[in-house]
Structure formats: structure tokens, C-alpha cells
């Protein structure tokens, strides 16, 4: 089976193509629901062995639909879905895949141990019980009923179920939603361990910090299409410039109090945008040093300077427009 490499909807980003083999792929997949809603529009996405890919996007962007298609819970209107080169509904493909979904309510009157044993039993070569408990941080609560657990503990049990089969490919749909900072960081550490063991992880998340710290590759989707993809650093720099004009160079955000009018700022080489907010002006520039020099020459009273690298949040908002 060959893997299609072209991603027709993506803005070409100079990503060094990961050399690993394709583990899962969506190939020009369109998903149209009977009510006419197009959740995915000719979307192509390839996961390669050993990488963590974060699928990022506002609510309704098509993240969950993409994950459902990859899990074989839904079939595409057109296009092809493959997991380990097979149909995602194939039993052998499922045997190598682990899934963590946002579950509203799991059977509450089963003990943590029973849940894990049940899921271990589904897989031909499951992870050792003790390892699952250790990795998911469940020791001490194994005999509790699921219904008695706190939100964070429930998330950890669901994480344990995703690992039960010792899968090579793991889908984590919003794995840390509702967790406090401490549990969230603990789960990140566990996800990093998975990757260290050569697992491939697809992560969907609302938390940009999560994508930033875990993923080697971020795919931003909106309205069923890929808006951009690349390393976290690339996505950040891309989001803060006008898409299509990105020519490299690191983008900086300058905030300061200045009397220079916006039109004059925009004439300074490197500046891509300038907005006034009360006493402060925010300037995006690709040549921070020369821009600063010029601004200081133009306005001797300029003060309160703050220079930042753009965060993923800025890129995300710039790329997906003004959603919620």
C-alpha cells in the first residue's frame, strides 16, 4: 500500500518530512452528514511511527469527526482511511490501536481493576496489569468503583483503558480536559513516556499549551480543512503573519507606548501589523531589531517596551479567525 503525500489543502510549510512509516492516514477525506453539514472537506493527514501529532481547532472544526473516522466508528463520504495499511474497522488494526475518548459516563458499578481486566481481555497481547496501573497512576484506587472516583481519577482510568492493549497507535481525544494543572502535567509525562517507547500518538486538544509541549507536529484545522501544519515553532510564526507570505524569519510582538501613528509604523520594513489599544500600540514585525531602532528614532518619548515571541494562542486565533 502506498501513502499519499500531497496535502492539497495545507499551506506548504517547510516541514522536514518525518521519515517513519505511515501508521495512519486520512486521504482526501470528505465527511458530509445527512443534514448537509460538511465536517471534513478533502482533508489529508498522515501519522508516522513514533510521532505525536496534535490536532488543533475550534469547536466544530472537525477534530472529533477526524478521530472517529480513524477509529472506524464512522465512514467517510469520500476518500480513504487507513490504519496500519488496513481498514480501521479491521480487527487486527483495532488490536494495535488504543483509544481514549471523552466519555460522559462509564459503567459506575465496576471496579477500576475490573474495567482494566475487561479491556485487557479484548487484546491479543495486552500490557501487563501492573504496568498499566503504574503508568496510569492508579495504584491505591484499583478496588474503587468507577462511580466513586474524582474527575481526574476517571480520566486516568480512561487513559489506562487506552493503554490496556499495549497499542502502537494511541488516539487521545481531549485527554486532560477537566484535570487540574498537576494531574495534567502528570498525564503529559505519561504521554511522553509512550512516545519514548515508540508509540504514535494523535492528540486532539483545546489546550494550546498541551499541543505546544507534547506535539512534534501540530495540525490546525478549521471548517473541515487543514489551515496549517508544522512544528509548534513553525505554526506560531506562520500564524502571526499573513498566510502565504511567510518567508521565514522569527516574528516578534512589540508592545509599547508611542505617539507614532499606525500608518507610519506600517511603513517601517518588517512590520506586518500595528494596532492601538488605549495607551499602547502592538506591532508585529519580522525584523524586531531594525524596527525598534527606527521607532526609537521616530519617537524619543517612546517607553514601556515589551518584546515577545508569539504564543501558540496568537497563531491559533490568527489562523482560525474569530471563533467563540
Amino acid at each position: 500500500m502506498s501513502t499519499v503525500l500531497d496535502r492539497p489543502n495545507a499551506i506548504p510549510v517547510p516541514v522536514p518530512i518525518p521519515s517513519g512509516e505511515a501508521v495512519a492516514s486520512l486521504d482526501r477525506v470528505t465527511k458530509r452528514f445527512p443534514n448537509g453539514v460538511v465536517a471534513l472537506d478533502e482533508l489529508s493527514l498522515t501519522l508516522r511511527r513514533g510521532e505525536v501529532v496534535a490536532l488543533l481547532g475550534p469547536n466544530g472544526a472537525g477534530k472529533s469527526t477526524a478521530v472517529k473516522l480513524l477509529m472506524g466508528l464512522s465512514s467517510p463520504t469520500s476518500g480513504a482511511v487507513a490504519i496500519f495499511g488496513a481498514d480501521p474497522r479491521n480487527h487486527a488494526a483495532r488490536a494495535r490501536t488504543g483509544v481514549m475518548l471523552q466519555v460522559g459516563r462509564a459503567p459506575e458499578m465496576l471496579r477500576v481493576r475490573e474495567h482494566i481486566e475487561l479491556f485487557r481481555g479484548y487484546y491479543p497481547s495486552p500490557m501487563a496489569y501492573a504496568d498499566i496501573v503504574q503508568v496510569a497512576g492508579l495504584s491505591g484506587i484499583e478496588s474503587r468503583f468507577f462511580g466513586q472516583l474524582s474527575g481526574g481519577q476517571k480520566q486516568r482510568v480512561l487513559f489506562a483503558l487506552a493503554l490496556a492493549g499495549d497499542p502502537d497507535l494511541v488516539f487521545l481525544d481531549e485527554p486532560t480536559v477537566g484535570l487540574d494543572i498537576k494531574s495534567r502535567r502528570a498525564m503529559w509525562a505519561q504521554i511522553e513516556l509512550l512516545v519514548a517507547r515508540g508509540k504514535t500518538v494523535l492528540l486532539t486538544t483545546h489546550y494550546l499549551e498541551e499541543a505546544d509541549s507534547l506535539a512534534q507536529r501540530i495540525v490546525v484545522i478549521d471548517k473541515g480543512r487543514i489551515v496549517c501544519e508544522g512544528t509548534p515553532a513553525e505554526v506560531k510564526s506562520l500564524g502571526s503573519t499573513t498566510p502565504g507570505t511567510a518567508t521565514g524569519g522569527s516574528v516578534k510582538i512589540i508592545r509599547c507606548a508611542t505617539t507614532i501613528p499606525t500608518h507610519a509604523l506600517l511603513n517601517i520594513p518588517g512590520v506586518t501589523s500595528a494596532t492601538v489599544n488605549g495607551d499602547f500600540t502592538t506591532i508585529l514585525t519580522r525584523q524586531a531589531e531594525s524596527t525598534m531602532r527606527e521607532m526609537l528614532a521616530l519617537d524619543l518619548s517612546l517607553h514601556s517596551i515589551d518584546v515577545q515571541s508569539p504564543k501558540l494562542e496568537d497563531a491559533f486565533l490568527a489562523l482560525t479567525g474569530d471563533h467563540d
Partner: protein, 266 residues
Amino acid sequence: MSTATLNFPRYNPLTRSLPIFLRETRYEFIRLLRTRSFSFSVVGFPVVFYLFFGIVMNRGQQIGAISVAKYVLASYAVFGMVGAALFGIGVGLAADLAAGWLDLKRASPMPPMAYVLAKCCSAVFFGILIVSLLALMGITLGNVSLSFAEYARMIALTVVGVIPFVCMGLALALLVPFSSAPGITNMIYLPMSFCGGLWVPLMFLPHFMQTIAVLMPTYHLGQLMLGAFGYASTGTTLSHWYGLFGFTLLMLGIAGMALRRLEQNS
């Protein structure tokens, strides 16, 4: 460009599925037993009803050759097993569907039939539990004489008789949203039990009720259960089996259509 491919030894589907099915069944039964809102009502209702209507009110009464306590035992046994099937499957599956729990199970290599059959089998186990409890109450408290053959026939009818109602539960779970599933199930279960003659023997109901009873699967199973004691009053044994079989096919058809609709929307 290489693509990871599957390199898996072939598994015998049966040797792989059987242990999964057995474990799934065991945990489903344990889970339902522990869920008191389920086990107390599903076992409690027929027990309390039988205690009042079969034992307290009719102790030792005979109508002709028919022992009332024994007659009512058959009716409430059916009432109990129908409840176990409708609530165990109907409400249980609707809950799993609504919560996304079923999605998680479907994405795993669990054979889907293991899940459905496990739910079906635990309904049968609850049916056997209820029938045995009622029989025990009848013998010890209601002076019911029950031969072992009669008890064995009751159990055999329970195992088979639960199936049409399991199918009905499937159809309900796929059609009705979880939030309203318990209410709607009760709205079907209780009238269906009454109209099928499970609460009050059919001969005491108005004539038009006796006519529509033929449409009730509860009527057919009730008559078969009475037949196990030699008490059947209306229709032939074969006609009741046909009735149950037709109802099962109807429910499977509805469930199949509902499943297709769900799949199209997913």
C-alpha cells in the same frame, strides 16, 4: 515510502471471542446486581407483586382445578423476566450509547456480538433469578406444589422467552434517547403487562381487552408459562410460539432500521 502493515497471526474467532464473551457476561451481571436502582426494582417489583396478589390475597384458594397462587406465579414470573430484559438491555444500552461508552468499546477489538450477547445473557440470568425466587416463595409461603419438571419447564421458557423482549429492548435503546429511556420503557412495560393478562387473569378483563391481548407478546409468553403448569386457557401452544416469533422479527426489523439511521448520522 513505506507503510506499516498488519502482521498478525490469524485468530480463531471462536476461541478468541468466547473468553471475551464470558468475561463480558460475568461483569455485566455483577454490574447490574450491584446497581441497586436496577436490581432492587427489577427483582423487587415481581417479588412484591407476587407476595401481595399471589400469596397474601389468594393463599390456598382454588378456582376449579386451578391453584390461584400457582396461576399467579406463572404471570409474575413472566412479568419479572420481561422487566429484566427491557430494563437491562433497553435502558443499559441507551446509557452506554448516550455516554459514548459504546464508542469506546466499538473502537476496541471487542467483538460486537460479545457485548450484545453478554447483555442478553445477563437478562436471562436475572430472569432465572426472579423465576426461582418467585417459585421458592410460592412453595414456602403459598402452598404451591411445583414439580421439578414444572420448574425446569419454567426455566427453559425463561431462557427462550427473554429473547423477544431483549430484541424489544434493543429497538428501544436505539430509538429512544437515554434521558427518556427509563420513562418510556415503563410506559410500555406496565401497560403491556396489564394488557397481556399478567396482573389480572385475562378472563377477568373486559372482552375488548381480551381481543387486543393477542397483539401482546406478554400474553403469548404468559400463556406458554401457564401451559407449563397445564393451565393455558386460550389459543394453541403453536399459536403463542408464532406470536412470539413474529414479535421478535418485528423488533429486530425496527432495531435494524434504527441502527442504520444511527450509523448514517455518525
